[in-house]
Symmetry: C2
Subunit: 330 residues, 2 copies
């Protein structure tokens, strides 16, 4: 392994000068700099990242803490992050919190111990985790979900408006008893989307009926059970708006089991795109999020924050798109 000293000796300068050249400090004479660069390539020198990390008390790593790697929403997002990070010389650590605040907490501890340069997180329901992360980390960008208690840069999507559009569309198609399966009460995406649903009902002069609302867990099983409960409870829904992709899948499964047709007698719109929404029969209407863009944007915010730690926080809200397909069209 060739070190900075080998290069220095070979170029006839000091190690300090080599370091300066290699880090682009422009206070070095051009001829010397040339000699250093020549020596470096000749010896096949590449810097020891571990030594640099220790010296700077910082890695060139980013962490992305998400709640489910198997959810295509997150993988596409991770890819956006990775493309930007890679470009800027960062590697991306993937942390899968599994919607479990304890697992999240343990990842946060690990991230702090590793002296990760920047963190992108879709926070779980426990605000003190976030507080600890923000406290101990130099750069944090929140994605997907808002956390009231802690201020950070953030990239969100317009959940309320998306949910409203979805619900309004169901109303406009003539559905009258529209149910909503939403996520945990403490997760902002669940409440925003529920708010949008409620707003659409209000706009149409409908009453908001809590019998038609279920709080679930953003998972497939949860969606399945919520749908079953809606059907069994006497609420008699003729349409359902599910506030994430996995719960939509669960709801579809229940409807299929019960032999209920889609879009008649029951219409369905989901939040989040499914990867092969066109292949599902009937094809599935969804509120699509710009997932890759969310990742890219978050990564760009992270880069900015690392360059300029004292700037004011930025919150970017990206729009959703309503994709009307067969499951809600009658």
């Amino acid at each position: 392994m060739t070190t900075i000293h080998d290069v220095a000796r070979h170029a006839g300068v000091s190690a300090a000068t080599v370091s300066r050249v290699l880090n682009g400090h422009r206070t070095v004479d051009e001829t010397l700099a040339g000699r250093v660069r020549a020596a470096a390539t000749e010896l096949g020198y590449s810097p020891n990242i571990l030594a640099r990390n220790l010296r700077k008390s910082q890695t060139n790593l980013w962490a992305v803490i998400i709640s489910d790697v198997n959810n295509p929403f997150f993988t596409s997002l991770v890819r956006g992050v990775e493309d930007v990070g890679q470009q800027a010389g960062y590697s991306v650590l993937l942390c899968n919190s599994d919607e479990n605040p304890d697992k999240e907490a343990s990842y946060i501890t690990a991230v702090l111990a590793q002296q990760i340069a920047g963190v992108i997180i879709s926070p779980s329901s426990r605000p003190d985790n976030m507080a600890q992360l923000v406290e101990g980390s130099r750069a944090v960008v929140t994605i997907d979900r808002e956390v009231q208690e802690v201020e950070t840069d953030a990239v969100l999507v317009d959940n309320e408006r998306g949910a409203q559009a979805a619900t309004a569309h169901l109303i406009e198609q003539g559905y009258s008893r529209i149910a909503c399966i939403t996520g945990p009460r403490k997760v902002s995406t669940a409440t925003s989307r529920l708010r949008g649903y409620r707003q659409a009902l209000r706009d149409a002069g409908r009453t908001f009926d809590t019998n038609l609302v279920r709080y679930s867990d953003f998972r497939e099983t949860g969606g399945r059970e919520a749908m079953a409960d809606l059907l069994d409870s006497g609420a008699r829904p003729d349409a359902v708006f599910a506030t994430n992709n996995l719960m939509t899948v669960g709801a579809l499964e229940t409807l299929a089991e019960r032999g209920l047709g889609i879009p008649d007698p029951v219409g369905v719109v989901g939040f989040d795109e499914l990867p092969w929404a066109e292949l599902v029969r009937p094809s599935l209407s969804t509120v699509a999020q710009p997932t890759y863009e969310v990742g890219r944007t978050a990564a760009q915010l992270l880069l900015k924050r690392l360059e300029n730690p004292d700037e004011r926080f930025t919150v970017i809200t990206l729009p959703t798109t309503l994709n009307i397909r067969d499951s809600s069209r009658r």
Copy 2:
């Protein structure tokens, strides 16, 4: 930040002793060890991983280099790796080579520079990348695809037998002109699965017709185009076996566009499970791989290799399962 010296002073011992206690070297007197542990917790000491990394010339990181983060096959696998790695104190870096050997090469360089402890890789078609990785890295486990030129621990699935079962099933359902859409000629999964297809035809006394075979790229678009080409070429397939999930999706899209019914007039079986194969209509027959298990097993092999670098290489082949659903049953 409290260091090992602070703890040493507080416990009235030397820094070396503290280090020994914290790393479980059992040559320390129990009373001293107790004092050290007490001092450590009292001071809220946590070791500086960056310093340890430099000293040991090794990180506590694993890298997983895969060809497509958006493919559910890989995300489930990554999760298996992560669950094991996390347990053993490793964090997992996700590297997305995108089926692009250049991207793969650049990740390999990065991995070597970072002094990553262990690497799990689904290799692209360029063997010298693998050679370089194995040369410079202390522990490498190959997954999914074989590489002839380089020997490593490996976790594979029984591709040939899986493909054979799928094809035999189509034959048994009475399909007579069974096409195969497979992957790149240089990727072992593509050739093994093609071999299984061929074997099943031979077993049934059918002739192998190259007009019914297409080499594609394991992607959705590739599958779509290959299917279109099969239909347009005059090969008149009445069934198709596609050798990965994304190409299966592509093939289904083409069939839908052309208004061709499934399973009649065209039967379909895919390799790899689709996340919501049951929701696709008609539901999709597949050869399922134990993806999570592949990840777990690879991670366990990696742990073993790190503990015992000089053992002989292990190659584990896991079985597949044929899930017969509606797309191939007539």
